[in-house]
């Protein structure tokens, strides 16, 4: 009898301790130390309201993140593979089968997918299913340094600006000394953001970003857009791509006053505010007859298909992507334009801080955002990293003209597509 009691107590205490035991959800993302601090605050808020789930952060700088996480999957070990991961673009990873299809969870819990910006959720989809929720919409606006504009006597940019206005302003903002050494460039913009100009000019990179059959970079729309960007650099208006990277990136040169404008997403706001900069934002100038073409893309939170506790991961994921949960915390940290329109139009975004005052620029770009900056097929990384970017770099460095380089580039792209069996 005593023995039975003993066993019963043991079983009971075992079950009891199980019910109290915490599940740990490993949460992976990239970011600067400041950004990681925000993520930690989000994790803390979640754990405060969900004592049964413990969130553990795994972070890497952006430059290493994707390589590192890929090798983690390769290990196949569910104890080291993060449960909820920040990824971009989702399609590459969904195709490899390492991500969980979220459709059943969305249906079961009536998760409001209509609240996302138009087109944005497509970025988290593969083969018609949702595999990830974009956290934010990484669209760019034009940041400008008011002090430099005042000093050069240039009016602040507004939504009426066209490419010609931008060029005219750039001419005045650029400061070249007699030797040809540039003291200040008008614009700092990463070469890799060239698709913005192409989209504004109604062009594209490939005829179909999911199942491409040919390269369209040599078509007039794309050609003119690339010419516009190349001319900005050739005239010393924009810092050349390699120089920008070498000087420390656009945020560094904007802060140190080496450039008057940058084209960047909302992630820089808190750093610029902390540095006490006198700046504001505006919508990005578009060509005559062009369209706004901010990128409807954003890194997305995804769930690992290896996860040991998918229910807990979903609980966390859906909380993260709600106006009452993670979205509001991220938004008021001032670093993102949230993926949910309701969050963006709330005070959490519009009234987050005094600077930049023209926050409507983000909303305007958001309502006109377009999909299609990156390819939605697995070989895109190789195509872009090994063929497209190097050829464009030759243009950005002023060593090749778009007229010469783009037709040749398109030939190699078409050859690559054929070699890899596209269109499928």
């Amino acid at each position: 009898m005593k023995r039975w009691l003993f066993v019963a107590t043991l079983v009971f205490s075992f079950v009891f301790s199980l019910s109290l035991a915490q599940t740990t959800v490993t949460w992976a993302m990239w970011g600067s130390p400041e950004e990681i601090a925000t993520h930690q605050a989000v994790a803390d808020a979640f754990m405060a309201s969900h004592p049964d789930i413990n969130i553990e952060i795994w972070s890497q700088p952006w430059g290493d993140y994707f390589t590192k996480i890929q090798t983690l999957w390769a290990s196949g070990d569910s104890s080291v593979i993060p449960d909820v991961m920040f990824l971009s673009p989702v399609v590459n990873y969904a195709a490899d089968g390492v991500l969980e299809n979220l459709d059943p969870y969305i249906e079961a819990s009536n998760y409001p997918i209509d609240d996302y910006w138009p087109g944005l959720l497509e970025f988290g989809m593969y083969d018609g299913h949702v595999y990830g929720f974009p956290r934010d919409i990484g669209l760019e606006v034009l940041y400008y340094n008011k002090d430099i504009f005042d000093e050069a006597g240039v009016d602040y940019p507004d939504e009426t600006w066209t490419w010609d206005d931008l060029t005219a302003a750039a001419e005045k903002l650029t400061d070249v000394s007699s030797s040809g050494r540039v003291n200040r460039y008008a614009l700092g913009m990463e070469g890799g953001k060239y698709q913005l100009w192409i989209g504004q000019n109604k062009g594209s990179i490939l005829d179909d970003m999911r199942n491409p059959s040919r390269c369209t970079l040599a078509d007039p729309e794309a050609m003119d857009a690339i010419k516009f960007f190349a001319d900005m650099m050739n005239n010393n208006y924009a810092m050349r791509d390699a120089n920008l990277g070498q000087a420390g990136g656009d945020a560094a040169v904007f802060q140190s006053g080496q450039v008057a404008m940058i084209i960047q997403n909302a992630s820089r706001i808190s750093a610029f505010n902390a540095a006490g900069m006198n700046y504001d934002v505006a919508v990005v100038p578009i060509p005559e007859g062009g369209q706004r073409s901010a990128s409807a893309a954003g890194a997305a939170w995804t769930m690992s298909s290896f996860s040991d506790d998918k229910e807990a991961a979903w609980t966390f994921l859906s909380w993260l992507q709600s106006t009452d949960g993670g979205q509001a915390i991220y938004t008021s940290s001032g670093e993102i334009l949230p993926a949910l329109q309701s969050t963006a139009k709330s005070d959490a975004f519009m009234g987050a801080s005094d600077t930049p005052s023209n926050r409507m620029a983000f909303i305007t770009e958001g309502e006109n955002a377009k999909v299609g900056r990156a390819g939605f097929f697995p070989e895109w990384n190789e195509l872009s990293g090994s063929i497209i970017s190097p050829a464009l770099q030759a243009i950005w460095s002023g060593e090749a003209t778009p007229e010469d380089a783009l037709p040749a580039l398109c030939e190699s792209v078409d050859a690559f597509l054929a070699q890899n069996g596209y269109p499928k």
Partner: protein
């Protein structure tokens, strides 16, 4: 300094017993296990892998010689990295040898402060390549770097239309930038090895040539160069092997850019394996690199008979 010396032909131990057999294997065991696991098996593995298409995640797919065939006959980037790597090798090796030898000869004149000079010249050899490459990236910045500053200042002062190189943004200058970094980093190594070789040259040879009325330059040409030729041969071989495998310098300083102008074979291997998920292609590429190094070393070994002077009666 010691070139692998001729194995001494001392008489064998007389105390040999059969039980040594098992003992010997015991001594070898730790080394053999590691050797098998991290050298032999990987060599075989690399060979097999080069016939597959594999991204580590989805199942590997046998594709025969496709990786090799694609690289050799279709891949334009491969041709580019091959050309880049050759440019590095044929410029780094001679420059390294010439500057190292000049420095060594200068230091070998019995001047004061030899130790201090050697300390300074050798310092970059022991420093970390990543840290150094970052510093050079900063030195070579077009508008704000120190390397260009005096040219800009001269241009501003005189009004001459001269512009310094746009080092890391120019597909022409990116390679010299990497070469300068490599030279700066390794010149001390070549110098110290030559210095040791020079100190082994008997003074009597120089004295004899002086008696014959040879000038300093002639002595350099007809005494010094032949006397250090064995060292030169050795340096050519190892520097070439090193130059063919250049990775960290361009990886950190230029990321292979602009437009792949400074991309090397090893960087391309890294990209294929760890960025594009092409494990098989990357291994095939590594074997091609091995073949190139092997052939070049073979050629060097053949050629050395014509110009390397070995002391006789040693």
């Amino acid at each position: 300094m010691s070139l692998p010396s001729q194995t001494s032909s001392r008489k064998r131990s007389s105390g040999w017993r059969p039980s040594q057999q098992n003992e010997a294997y015991l001594f070898l065991l730790p080394s053999l296990i590691g050797f098998a696991l991290f050298v032999l098996v990987p060599i075989v593995g690399a060979f097999v892998l080069s016939f597959f298409k594999w991204n580590l995640i989805s199942p590997a797919q046998f594709i025969g010689l496709d990786n090799y065939q694609q690289l050799l006959f279709q891949d334009a980037v491969f041709r580019k990295v091959l050309a880049n790597t050759f440019v590095y090798a044929v410029s780094i090796v001679p420059l390294q040898l010439i500057s190292g030898l000049i420095m060594a000869v200068a230091l070998n004149q019995g001047i004061r402060g030899l130790e201090l000079y050697r300390l300074i010249y050798f310092m970059p050899v022991i420093t970390n390549i990543v840290a150094v490459a970052i510093v050079f990236q900063w030195l070579l910045n077009r508008d704000f770097g120190v390397a260009n500053a005096w040219v800009w200042q001269l241009a501003e002062a005189t009004g001459w239309p001269i512009a310094p190189p746009d080092w890391l943004n120019s597909s022409f200058w990116a390679k010299p930038a990497v070469i300068i970094l490599t030279l700066w980093k390794n010149i001390g190594f070549t110098m110290v090895i030559y210095l040791a070789a020079l100190q082994g040259v008997p003074e009597s040879l120089y004295d004899a040539s002086k008696v014959d009325g040879a000038s300093g330059l002639q002595r350099f040409r007809f005494v010094t160069i032949p006397m250090v030729s064995a060292t030169t041969f050795f340096l050519v071989v190892i520097q070439m092997i090193g130059a063919f495998q250049l990775f960290a310098e361009p990886f950190v300083m230029t990321r292979g850019g602009p437009a792949q102008a400074s991309l090397t074979i090893v960087m391309y291997i890294y990209q294929n394996a760890f960025e594009f998920g092409r494990m098989g292609k990357a291994t095939a590429l590594a074997w091609i690199l091995f073949a190139i190094i092997f052939v070049f070393t073979l050629i060097q070994t053949r050629l050395q008979r014509r110009w390397v002077h070995y002391e006789t009666g040693d």
